[in-house]
């Protein structure tokens, strides 16, 4: 950790030539800095990923009762795919998670806009209330929610857990959106108001349009919360057919033994969609945002 910071401070110093330096010297220094940073980040990434490599290695290691010879096998995967409903679990996870993401963002973005732009006792009171609600640990709400939902037939059912996921992501999602909207200058909206846009119109057409990185961060947060949850799922989901992937993983934990090969194989399956999502969305993060509109002000 300290190494990272230290070199971060040192690296710019190396890269900074005086303004008087020739162009090529600056470019050279920049290039050297670039490879320096590359090596650094490569080292950091390698260390950070060690526990994950362990997971991957275990997923390909033959289990206790395996007939495989050697240290590598795809047996865990074939077992998991042949003997469990991992495909259904994956589908359930995708449906719940994507719905959660969609609804959370759709609810949190407008609310976050109000928290960002609105002022007054009501708004800050609501902001605090969101906070209080979020601060109460989920383990205290699972039982009362179960009793409430059982009455509505929302138990052992994906709709039920999706509603809870939306509820539990909403506070943070709203705050994240508000934080992002704060970085958007209000002058953009003022300009659109002058052009005759309504408040709502300028929110959807001007603010949202410029909030892609913020929306994506919020979406990713909600995605991971819903994707990885098992504290809610373990109480709400019963049947194999309604399990999400984290619940599916639980089925390999028996009383005195755990089938780690299968756990790790399902864990790998679980890691693929978020990784694809991140990889696919990556370029949107580097979009220049609204920087351009600030220029010259």
């Amino acid at each position: 950790m300290s190494t990272v910071l230290h070199t971060h401070q040192a690296a710019p110093a190396a890269a900074t030539g005086g303004p008087a330096k020739s162009r090529s010297a600056v470019a050279d220094a920049g290039n050297r800095g670039r490879w320096w940073r590359f090596t650094l980040i490569l080292a950091v990434t390698a260390v950070v990923l060690i526990p994950i490599m362990v997971t991957v290695a275990l997923a390909f290691t033959p289990g206790a009762n395996s007939t495989a010879t050697g240290g590598f096998t795809l047996e865990n995967f074939s077992t998991v795919f042949e003997k469990t409903l991992v495909g259904t679990w994956l589908q359930n996870s995708l449906i719940t998670t994507l719905t959660t993401v969609l609804v959370s963002v759709a609810v949190a973005a407008p609310a976050g806009y109000v928290l960002s732009r609105g002022r007054g006792k009501l708004v800050s009171g609501y902001s605090l209330l969101l906070f209080v609600i979020q601060s109460l640990p989920i383990i205290t709400s699972v039982v009362p929610l179960f009793i409430l939902f059982a009455g509505m037939g929302l138990v052992d059912n994906l709709v039920g857990i999706t509603i809870i996921y939306v509820g539990s992501t909403m506070s943070v999602a709203t705050w994240m959106m508000a934080a992002y909207f704060d970085s958007i200058p209000i002058s953009l909206e003022e300009a659109s108001w002058i052009d005759g846009c309504s408040v709502f119109g300028s929110f959807t057409r001007v603010v949202l349009r410029n909030s892609l990185p913020g929306i994506l961060s919020t979406a990713i947060f909600s995605f991971l919360l819903a994707w990885n949850d098992y504290l809610v799922a373990v109480v709400f989901l019963r049947s194999n057919e309604t399990f999400t992937l984290p619940m599916g993983v639980q089925t390999f934990f028996q009383q005195n033994a755990t089938d780690w090969g299968s756990v790790m194989a399902v864990a790998l399956v679980m890691m693929i969609p978020p990784v694809l999502v991140f990889a696919g969305l990556n370029k949107y993060f580097s979009v220049g945002g609204i920087g351009g509109s600030l220029a010259g002000q």
């Binding site: 950790m1 990272v4 910071l5 971060h8 401070q9 710019p12 110093a13 303004p19 800095g33 670039r34 940073r37 590359f38 650094l40 950091v44 990434t45 950070v48 990923l49 060690i50 526990p51 994950i52 362990v54 997971t55 407008p110 609310a111 605090l128 609600i133 601060s135 109460l136 640990p137 205290t140 009362p144 929610l145 809870i164 939306v166 509820g167 705050w175 508000a178 970085s183 209000i186 002058s187 002058i194 309504s198 408040v199 709502f200 994506l216 961060s217 990713i220 991971l224 098992y230 504290l231 993983v249 756990v263 890691m271 978020p274 991140f278 990556n282 993060f285 945002g289 920087g291 220029a295």
Partner: protein, 320 residues
């Protein structure tokens, strides 16, 4: 910045579209447009309010009732007033857990922030395979904790595990990372930082994405060093985002159950028992719902106080 602040100040005074004037909430006649703003705001926030009441209101009230009773999960039990709170506050394990929660939270928040910030800054620059690193570095946050805790256990638990073996090879003895109370506390904190830094990195990256590169170019022209740019441009620009990410990470750390529970179970001998782990054990292992929920409420109250302080900071940072 100054334009933003001025505009925000104007917005606060209720200046609506079209530049109509008149402070809201006073006896003076409001313009139609600012009334429209109020209505639109109400309309925009309504879904969130409804969800909040539906999903979070009921459990909150339910938990409040449990905290004042001496019951279990199936039976409300007798009303005991604030007895649960006083017995919890006078118990030694509570304060021990509170101390650990504080350490765990401070390390979790600032450790992950520093690493996330450093990585976000490095990844913002042009380096080869930039995008790949961004994705790879998010993995600790992606892996299910039940899996990553096993990996961490496998790396550290026994004297022959890879990390103690490495220490041994370096002549540093054979530390038992999960068996020694101090080392276990350090390991749990590091585990939390490892899980959390990608979130910080993402928050900061997205805040940085809205910062215009020309600001840096201009200041380079003025002869500012990179360090000056960092402290005088970057940090102020992401300050609001930073405060919010601190608040969020504080909640995540204080409320974090699986990280601790799966790696150490709160042991050895309570060395890594945080308040939420203590509350969980009270409710689900000792079947003492009242005191357990009381702990959860005390946690919430503390969090609210901390957050109000931080929230003031946010306000300040946006009005300065």
């Amino acid at each position: 910045m100054t334009t933003t602040t001025r505009s925000l100040a104007r917005a606060r005074k209720g200046v609506g579209p079209g530049g109509a004037s008149g402070p809201a909430g006073t006896a003076r006649k409001q313009s139609t447009l600012s009334r429209q703003t109020g209505r639109t705001f109400a309309f925009l926030i309504l879904p969130s309010v409804l969800l909040l009441l539906l999903i979070n209101g009921y459990p909150l009230i339910y938990a409040g009732i449990q905290a004042l009773h001496n019951g279990n999960l199936l039976d409300t039990g007798a009303f005991v007033g604030l007895d649960n709170f006083s017995s919890v506050l006078s118990s030694e394990p509570f304060w021990k857990a509170a101390r650990f929660t504080l350490v765990f939270t401070l390390v979790g928040v600032f450790g992950s922030w520093l690493i996330g910030l450093a990585l976000a800054l490095v990844l913002r620059t042009k380096i080869p395979a930039n995008g790949l690193f961004k994705v790879l570095l998010l993995l600790p946050w992606v892996v299910p904790i039940v899996v990553s805790s096993t990996a961490w256990n496998w790396l550290t638990a026994t004297p022959t595990s890879p990390v103690p073996a490495l220490f041994n090879a370096l002549g540093l003895g054979t530390p038992l990372f999960l068996a020694d109370p101090t080392l276990a506390a350090i390991t749990v904190c590091l585990f939390k930082v490892w899980i959390s830094f990608p979130f910080m990195m993402m928050m900061i990256s997205s805040a940085l994405a809205s910062v215009d590169n020309t600001v840096y170019e201009a200041s380079s022209m003025d002869g500012a060093s990179k360090w000056q740019q960092f402290t005088q441009i970057t940090l102020p620009l992401i300050s609001r985002s930073t405060y919010i990410s601190w608040i969020l990470m504080t909640i995540f750390c204080v409320n974090d159950f699986p990280t601790i529970y799966l790696l150490t179970g709160g042991g050895p001998v309570d060395a890594t028992t945080s308040l939420v782990v203590l509350a969980y054990r009270m409710v689900f292992q000792n079947f003492q719902t009242g005191p357990g929920v009381a702990i959860a409420f005390l946690m919430t109250m503390t969090l609210v106080i901390v957050s109000v302080v931080l929230y003031r900071q946010i306000r300040k940072s946006s009005t300065e």
